[in-house]
């Protein structure tokens, strides 16, 4: 029996995200729309952020592409990590 209660616990390890599409949307919402706004020397205007959300459907469709890019780097880094371990020995 499935629980009536959907809990999406976010994890840093993207491979373990089960509902990745939702997580990506939630993350985008948090990261792009919220958080303390400090005007840096280069700033993204509210209009730009709104522009991103106009393309929200595009973003959803690029979940796979985005995650592939992220995984690719993790793979490279884990290979690098192994190499470092070897040199330390």
């Amino acid at each position: 029996m499935s629980s009536p209660f959907e809990q999406v616990v976010l994890q840093s390890d993207f491979d373990e995200l089960e509902t990745s599409e939702l997580s990506l949307l939630e993350t985008l919402d948090h990261v792009l729309n919220r958080g303390l706004v400090i005007a840096g020397e280069i700033t993204i205007s509210v209009a730009d952020i709104d522009l991103i959300f106009l393309g929200l459907n595009v973003l959803v469709s690029s979940v796979e592409t985005a995650q592939e890019v992220l995984r690719e780097r993790e793979r490279r880094e884990s290979v690098g990590g192994t190499e470092r371990l070897h040199t330390e020995r």
Binding site: E6, V9, S12, T27, R34, I38, I42, I44, I52, A66
Partner: protein, 275 residues
């Protein structure tokens, strides 16, 4: 790859992820830090007095104002950067109290970051203190209009009454009454959702330090129905189990009428950086 040495400073900017207390940040192991927003750069801590900014270097070729605006229109580029921003902020927020910044706080020089830390010291310190020991959790409320419409007649005395009138009315009257019933049904569905929203809000507020009702983005309907309401709750770590149990009770209570609750988190306290 990095053998050519770092690019000259003038071609780089400083991307800020979050702000933390300098002492607490210094105790985080540097060898376990997540990757920065751009490849082949590292997370750096920029301490000024009692505060530290968590930053990394970014190439101006991607992040200068007009280039950044251009890049943001590339959904994949933006999604990847947003996820990396989140990974860095999350790494710190799971361990210490931080002020999570919105994506895209960028300084041309290190001196700009340092000046910001100095000028906003009091405000930033207050936020760090207020958020200590807390996490943000999201509750999304989905409603399946069809399922709710199917049960609303049994929930609403006014609808029951109208239905009885329809049953005994003459054909002419019955037509008008049916029209009236349809309008009332839509109203009663809206009212029921508002009532559940208030109930969720009131019930869960007891377990949190602060709560916000968030703007719902225009997204397509999901398999659970339409996303109707979004809440963010600021919760002390040791109150979370109670909060979760209460949310689960609410979820069970309302699932039968097509209302679904979803819990997301823990998030850095993005929604609670202002009072």
């Amino acid at each position: 790859m990095t053998g050519n040495g770092e690019p000259p400073e003038a071609s780089q900017a400083f991307y800020v992820y979050c702000i933390a207390a300098a002492g607490a940040a210094a105790e985080i192991a540097v060898d376990s830090l997540p990757g920065a927003i751009e490849d082949d750069t590292a997370i750096e801590l920029i301490p000024v007095d009692s505060l530290t900014a968590v930053v990394s270097r970014v190439p101006l070729v991607s992040y200068a104002e007009e280039n950044l605006t251009q890049n943001l229109t590339d959904a994949t580029w933006t999604a990847v950067r947003a996820m990396r921003h989140q990974q860095v902020v999350e790494h710190f927020s799971r361990r210490i109290s931080v002020v999570p910044l919105r994506f895209g706080t960028i300084y041309l020089e290190l001196a700009g970051v340092e000046r910001m830390l100095t000028e906003r010291k009091q405000e930033l310190t207050e936020i760090i203190d207020r958020l200590r020991g807390c996490e943000e959790w999201g509750i999304n409320l989905y409603s399946d209009r069809k399922a709710l419409t199917a049960v609303i007649d049994s929930l609403s005395p006014r609808l029951r009454e109208l239905n009885e009138q329809v049953a005994t009315a003459s054909p002419g009257q019955s037509y008008l009454l049916k029209k009236k019933t349809e309008t009332l049904r839509a109203d009663e569905c809206r009212r029921e959702l508002q009532r559940i929203t208030s109930e969720v809000d009131d019930s869960l507020r007891q377990f949190c330090e602060d709560a916000r009702r968030l703007r719902v983005l225009k997204v397509e309907a999901t398999e659970y129905g339409e996303l109707t309401v979004k809440f963010a709750f600021l919760i002390k770590r040791n109150s979370f189990e109670e909060f979760r149990a209460a949310a689960e009770r609410l979820a069970r209570k309302h699932e039968k009428i097509g209302v679904r609750l979803e819990l997301t988190g823990p998030w850095p306290a993005y929604n609670f950086t202002s009072e």
